[in-house]
């Protein structure tokens, strides 16, 4: 066989020149000629790691990251030698890198040589156990716009330069920004009620969606439905604090107690959530049951200044004797009147008014005293045969000494 066609003088010369050229270039540029692309210039808050501000500063020193195949050290070990904070994360399952099943293989997620401004992370994070970090993505599958959630929707964009020291720290997540756009009417008040540290209460499972207060021991009724959450759940910053919120009226309304504690703490005995004015008090349980026209009255008609105890139960406590009585009937209104109306008089003159057989006699015939006791007193004396001396003598003769109250024995005026 002839020698190979490439072994011509020119072929051999080209081969020698090529080898020399590669050696020279390799000598001066290190392994740069094997680089598939520029290294990233991304910095992390300007903090140098391993003596360089970015991977790009490593330059042609390929061995800084690429360990030789025959070395015991892996490339991940070279990464973690500089990124010591990541090294410390890997041991903690509650951290980003600790939650990754293969965190020790850095190149599984992080890629280089894709350009100075290219992202260093190209991770298939669909299976990332986000819930392990205390926040499930169950309710964050799609944005309000219907797009699939990307890491950068909540966290620092991967290509931000410089990147924060811990770009995935939960404290750096801006929940409020997105949710205020989504729920502009709700969020400001919610933020005012419960603060801005959303993750103290929310773990992403979205257990507050379709929340029904009625399922709890304190259903919201009446005016309570209009009350902002924070008015009852004051300073509530953790889920367990909701469960310990006091459910007594006085816990929230002690400043509203116009009774100043005089009626105890069982507000619901009289009031409903529909409003303080909507009183359900059972007046019949008191010493003064409401009857007749009293039922229609406003409470304040009798109980001024929200004072209920000590309210007089006599008629004259509220009803001054009317002018038309001329002060003649006394203050025992109930002896003639009922509560349905003043006009419904129940007075019955049991003594015959035609006493004597000469027609109705004048009131003053018997009621001789001057007002105000004119009609509550009477006298049978001074009339035809009823002189006091005669009446006395006749009754004493019969052995009756208590003869002054004639009506007791002579209610109809007869013997």
């Amino acid at each position: 066989m002839n020698r190979l066609g490439c072994l011509t003088p020119f072929g051999i010369g080209a081969g020698i020149i090529t080898i020399i050229g590669l050696v020279v270039i390799g000598w001066f540029s290190g392994g740069a000629m094997f680089s598939p692309g520029p290294l990233s210039t991304q910095q992390r808050n300007g903090t140098p790691l391993g003596g360089v501000a970015s991977h790009a500063a490593i330059g042609g020193d390929c061995g800084a990251c690429h360990t030789a195949p025959w070395e015991g050290r892996t490339m991940a070990a070279a990464c973690l030698a500089c990124h010591s904070d990541i090294q410390s994360q890997i041991g903690n399952p509650a951290t980003l890198h600790g939650a990754l099943p293969d965190a020790n293989v850095c190149m599984g997620c992080h890629v280089e040589h894709r350009g100075e401004s290219a992202s260093l992370t190209d991770a298939p994070l669909n299976e990332f156990p986000h819930a392990q970090l205390g926040f499930s993505l169950a309710a964050h599958q799609f944005t309000a716009g219907g797009q699939a959630f990307a890491c950068a929707d909540c966290h620092t964009p991967l290509n931000q330069n410089p990147r924060p020291f811990n770009a995935y720290d939960a404290a750096a997540v801006d929940c409020i920004g997105c949710h205020t756009q989504d729920q502009p009417a709700f969020m400001p008040q919610h933020q005012a009620d419960f603060g801005t540290t959303c993750l103290d209460c929310h773990d992403g499972v979205d257990r507050y969606r379709n929340f029904d207060h009625a399922s709890l021991r304190f259903p919201l009724e009446g005016l309570h439905q209009q009350v902002e959450c924070g008015m009852c759940h004051t300073n509530t910053r953790h889920p367990e604090q909701f469960a310990t919120t006091a459910d007594t009226c006085l816990a929230c309304h002690h400043e509203d107690d116009v009774h100043q504690g005089s009626y105890g703490t069982d507000c619901a005995a009289c009031h409903t959530p529909s409003g303080w004015a909507q009183v359900t008090f059972d007046h019949s349980r008191t010493a003064f049951p409401l009857t007749g026209a009293h039922i229609q009255l406003e409470c304040a008609a009798c109980h001024q200044n929200q004072i209920y105890q000590g309210t007089p139960t006599t008629c004259v406590g509220c009803h001054a004797e009317p002018q038309e009585h001329f002060g003649q009937f006394g203050t025992d209104c109930a002896s003639c009147h009922v509560t349905s109306s003043w006009k419904n008089v129940i007075f019955d003159h049991t003594f015959p008014l035609n006493h004597g057989g000469e027609g109705q006699i004048a009131c003053a015939t018997c009621h001789t005293n001057p007002p105000p006791n004119q009609y509550t007193t009477y006298t049978c004396y001074n009339c035809h045969a009823h002189s006091e001396a005669k009446v006395r003598a006749e009754h004493l003769e019969e052995g009756i000494t208590n003869y002054q109250d004639c009506m007791r024995c002579h209610p109809d005026g007869r013997e």
């Binding site: 066989m1 002839n2 490439c6 011509t8 072929g11 740069a32 598939p36 690429h66 195949p69 850095c106």
Partner: protein, 283 residues
């Protein structure tokens, strides 16, 4: 006058090759597969797909550079016709270099970028070489014909042509045969080699004119006349450009071989670097 039955002389079998057709089919299939694999993004050069494409392409290019050359120089082992080897040499050269192009993931940097650039140059150089190669007449096995071989074939063709023009089945007198003169192209043999298709096109037109001057012929005779006159034109042109074609092919070899050597040295270094920095890397 008794007429003798017309019998065609035995014609040499021509080895038809399909390197362009095979290459186009292979390129189409590879392109389709590559597009399917690219549906989630361009396959990275360092990925499974990218690496596989690169390795297969490099092996094909290596085969291109070695197998045909070995077969050409083999004295005892002569499996297969040389033209078949050349066919697969061309196919593997085109397909292999195309796969190497796909392997780059359209990133042309560093040594890998130089390797790709050199690959393109060598492939284009190969096309030029193929052009010069086909300008030199060869046997069925691909061996070059000498000037004497060509002149012998020319003389045989001329004798056959003489007989044909005298054979008239109708008994009418044969017209004087005026063979078309071959116009020497401007630029001489160099132009004859470089603008070969244009000259062939002109010669075909001259042949048609000559056939018209011969008057009516029976179909078999006309066909045979056309074939022999075409052969005569081809032989004359080959004789005209034989020396220049050989010199150009030698010159091409002088350029192509160093380019190929440089390409493969760089490619091997690139493979070594890729294995050191990526394939054998302990993650």
């Amino acid at each position: 006058m008794a007429t003798t039955p017309h019998v065609d002389p035995p014609r040499p079998l021509r080895q038809t090759t399909y390197e362009i057709e095979i290459s186009l089919v292979a390129l189409g299939a590879i392109t389709g597969l590559y597009l399917w694999l690219s549906r989630f993004g361009t396959p990275a050069a360092s990925g499974l797909v990218g690496h596989s494409i690169g390795i297969i392409g490099f092996v094909l290019m290596l085969a291109t550079e070695t197998l045909y050359s070995l077969r050409k120089r083999a004295r005892t082992w002569t499996y297969g016709r040389l033209s078949s080897w050349l066919q697969w040499h061309i196919v593997s050269g085109i397909v292999g270099s195309y796969m190497v192009l796909l392997h780059t993931a359209w990133q042309f940097r560093g040594l890998a970028g130089v390797v790709l650039l050199l690959t393109v140059v060598v492939v284009l150089s190969g096309v030029v070489g193929r052009y010069f190669y086909t300008a030199i007449p060869r046997t069925l096995d691909g061996a070059e014909l000498s000037l004497a071989d060509l002149e012998t074939q020319l003389a045989a063709g001329a004798a056959r042509l003489e007989i044909l023009t005298r054979t008239r089945t109708s008994g009418e007198p044969a017209p004087a045969l005026e063979l078309p003169a071959l116009a020497t192209p401007q630029g001489g043999p160099l132009a004859s080699v470089l603008v070969r298709p244009l000259i062939t096109w002109r010669d075909r037109a001259a042949l048609e004119r000559a056939m018209g001057q011969l008057g009516s012929q029976d179909q078999a005779t006309a066909s045979e006349l056309r074939r022999i006159m075409q052969e005569r034109q081809r032989l004359l042109r080959q004789i005209e450009r034989l020396d220049m074609a050989r010199r150009l092919l030698a010159l091409w070899h002088t350029v192509h071989v160093p380019l190929g050597v440089a390409l493969f040295i760089m490619a091997f270094v690139h493979v070594g670097g890729a294995m050191y920095y990526a394939t054998l890397l302990r993650l």
